[in-house]
């Protein structure tokens, strides 16, 4: 019977490396799973945007603490020249702890001149507002902002 120690050194090293790779993968995924982002919000994001959004270009202005979850003012600004060749095609707003993750989607174009929209949304509890902007070149950019809610605004 050949014990593990008698295996060629190279093969053992490979095994160890694989093991480390496996641990690394597990660690990389662990924080995502533990994060507040529930499955539904992530699924909706995947349905809306086919490419993986990169962080940046999107700014979300919202109160840090919203006393009334029934109407939370949110301003979304996307860094874009809004020229006929380089513009924001769509802005999607998602909330990760509402009964349903979708909030709104806005379709824009070069006619808008400035990629900024304002809205007022409902928040059932403290949560993250996630905004994804789809550009004319097919890239997607995202930002997240946490809003603490004193009185939730969905069942009232």
């Amino acid at each position: 019977m050949t014990s593990l120690l008698h295996l060629p050194r190279r093969s053992r090293g490979l095994n160890r490396r694989q093991a480390f790779a496996a641990i690394g993968t597990a660690c990389a995924f662990a924080p995502v799973a533990a994060e507040a982002t529930p499955e539904a919000a992530r699924k909706l994001l995947g349905d809306l945007i086919k490419v993986a959004p990169k962080a940046g270009k999107v700014r979300i202005d919202a109160p840090e603490i919203a006393e009334n979850g029934n109407t939370v003012p949110v301003t979304v600004t996307v860094d874009s020249p809004m020229s006929p060749t380089d513009y924001v095609r769509a802005i999607h707003v998602i909330a990760d702890r509402n009964p349903q993750p979708g909030v709104a989607s806005f379709m824009l174009g070069p006619d808008n001149g400035k990629a900024e929209v304002q809205l007022r949304m409902r928040m059932a509890e403290s949560q993250n507002v996630i905004v994804v902007a789809e550009m004319s070149d097919g890239s997607a950019w995202t930002a997240t902002r946490e809003v603490k809610v004193t009185i939730g605004g969905c069942s009232t």
Partner: protein
């Protein structure tokens, strides 16, 4: 309920050609989320404005698809690059197929 639905629009005055201006819109609507229960514990059916669109001289310049997470009396604002005078047409559509329209002249000097 649907008798008191009234759109309100604010377009700035004194626009010069090429200006990028903010256009603010609001429509009075309960935006029933479909999450609330009445006194008998029955769920009040969802009834929201699910779409809002804006066209300038017949060409769409802005569209919003809305979900129940929008507040009652949905307020929306967006920007418009003014290159021509014309008529802005605003349309809101609700879950019952209700259509609410408003128009506003856009004067570009």
């Amino acid at each position: 309920m649907s008798t008191d639905i009234k759109p309100r629009i604010r377009v700035p005055q004194g626009i010069k050609r090429g200006d990028v201006v903010e256009i603010k819109t609001l429509i009075s609507h309960p935006m029933e989320s479909g999450q609330r229960k009445d006194t008998d514990g029955k769920i009040i059916p969802r009834m929201i404005i699910n779409r809002m669109s804006v066209a300038l001289n017949g060409k769409q310049v802005f569209e919003a698809r809305l979900e129940p997470a929008m507040s009652a009396n949905p307020y929306l604002s967006f920007f418009l690059k003014c290159t021509q005078s014309g008529t802005l047409e605003f349309t809101w559509t609700d879950d019952n197929g209700g259509l609410y329209k408003a128009s506003q002249a856009l004067t570009v000097a």
